[in-house]
Symmetry: C2
Subunit: 338 residues, 2 copies
């Protein structure tokens, strides 16, 4: 039933020529009479021909399919990036296969396995928090890939990420320069390089300004995520012995802002808050959240570009792109309260 699809052979029979000629006509091969070509193309359209991707890529060895392996589709940051990659790749006549780890890093190898099995031409990989053998696994299978969004210890891999250390520094400098001296730092999950870098950058900014590290109370990422899940972030904020909050990602800052306001605390008069990602898409807060970010979509665009170049020429030396960050000055940071 489903096998009722029109094939090259069917068109060939209809046109009274060979399947090969049809193939050439449809692919625009030069050595073919124009009259033949137009007739074949017309017939193909009329018969509703759809090329069989499986057969094409089996034969040609190239699939024009890219897989993106992502941590979590609940995170808007990833959704945005994936969406953008999809657009970029479609323009270059590639398909994007989205594979989601559902935050379970042990799924990584299964998904890579799947990608290889699908003969994808390359993988856009968002490293999760664990180590895993995914790098070796991709290399073993000669699979071109680019790592995104996070720093990994391996320096032989192509990577694109933003300058999280500098981002942390910007956040720290911004707050300290507004007079803040005591901080609450709501972390991302441990072992994530973004978390480590942002925190380090932040602390460096404070050191540069002679603010002791003890002035920062750090809440572990796992604790933050759990509180977020259970909808009680307020407890994270106690005791309130600080004047500024740094949040690892916007989606943590939102509910925290609501908590504060609910308890009659004014932002930024009483407490300042700064975050990372700058996802102000659906505009869920007022004042706008002050947030550190990298130019919209540049990670996605560059990742795609680098992967395609790597596919083109596997012998390229590994490249490590670190994108600059900037601060979006919303209205959630202000001079330290007295």
């Amino acid at each position: 039933m489903r096998t009722a699809r029109v094939t090259l052979k069917d068109i060939a029979k209809e046109c009274g020529c060979s399947a090969n000629t049809v193939s050439r006509a449809l692919r625009g091969d030069s050595r073919l009479a124009d009259s033949t070509r137009t007739q074949i193309c017309e017939t193909a359209r009329n018969m509703g021909y759809v090329p069989n991707y499986m057969a094409t890529s089996l034969r040609s060895g190239k699939s024009r399919m890219i897989a993106v392996i992502v941590n979590d589709l609940h995170n808007q940051h990833y959704c945005d990036l994936v969406n953008r990659m999809d657009q970029e790749l479609r323009e270059r006549n590639y398909n994007l296969m989205i594979l989601c780890k559902q935050l379970d890093e042990s799924l990584a190898e299964v998904l890579i396995h799947k990608a290889i099995s699908l003969s994808v031409d390359g993988i856009l990989y968002f490293p999760g928090v664990g180590q895993g053998h995914y790098l070796e696994y991709m290399r073993l299978n000669h699979m071109p890939f680019v790592l995104l969004d996070r720093r990994v210890s391996d320096t032989e891999a192509d990577t694109v990420r933003c300058d999280d250390e500098q981002g942390g520094y910007l956040a720290g400098a911004h707050l300290a320069d507004l007079g803040h001296r005591k901080f609450l730092f709501l972390s991302g999950v441990a072992r994530s390089s973004s978390q480590i870098d942002r925190l380090n950058g932040f602390l460096r900014a404070l050191r540069d300004r002679d603010i002791p590290e003890e002035n920062v109370r750090i809440v572990e990422g796992e604790v933050v995520e759990e509180a977020l899940e259970k909808h009680n972030t307020w407890e994270l904020l106690q005791p309130m012995d600080y004047t500024a909050i740094v949040s690892f990602r916007d989606e943590v800052a939102y509910p925290v802002m609501i908590d504060l306001r609910e308890h009659g605390i004014n932002i930024p008069k009483d407490i300042s808050i700064i975050s990372f990602d700058n996802l102000h898409r659906e505009n869920p807060t007022r004042p706008y959240l002050t947030s550190i970010y990298t130019t919209d979509s540049s990670i996605a665009d560059l990742g795609v570009k680098m992967l395609l170049e790597r596919i083109e020429d596997p012998s390229l030396p590994p490249r490590n792109v670190i994108l600059p960050v900037q601060i979006f000055e919303g209205g959630t940071t202000g001079p330290a309260a007295r």
Copy 2:
């Protein structure tokens, strides 16, 4: 280089048997000596064999791949559903290919074409706002499909959606019974069946309570979306000659709530607001948004189930499932202000 992949033939040579025997061993065919099977499986693992999906599905005619064609990955509602489908399908040993229309309904046929080309076993389709010939196109190609989330005029198609009319009624009844008499209705995009049904249900609830239709001011969906985009939803709310707002989806209600609060208007004391979707995942509002929804993930689960059944038996009569809705009573609705 990439062609360096291990094939059945390689394993066969290593084991001194035929490729077919290897294939049988790996697929667990019964009539095969246990000793042979274990030896082959071991060798395959050692050699790092990954089956070639293209070849398998070309030969077998079945791909174990499902495509979901979705409107917009920026909309959390869709992200949630897609995520859930992915999990469901993975458990049943299917893959999900996510194809995104980027809100451009004219992409529909291109994406269906792509899905057919990939020999997917079926399509989970979220109809957009336009009509389009996508239905005929899928049928023409004998492609099993299920339509999701929206009502379409075609009754021969399998569909799963929630009872939007009843949802609208619930919203209207809830507000009217709290004493509200004048309303602002922030629509979804025109021609979307959800929009039409929700509005109709809402108006029916008012009629049942002898509230005249003139008491509802309706803002067109296109106007709403544009305001959302431009981050000025406040103007939509003028003049404020109502005591309750109905918002087509949660992501419209969020910024509206912020607008109101920013102008010193208390929710729900001064104005009540009710919405649809109940996306309180990242908890962006307090009080929680009162919202109409259908049991979490049931659309995704049922859609997957129905599609697989349709694939199994294409002769099944078409089924039209309408899921019941309920109201999540957050804190954004209260007695009408005096």
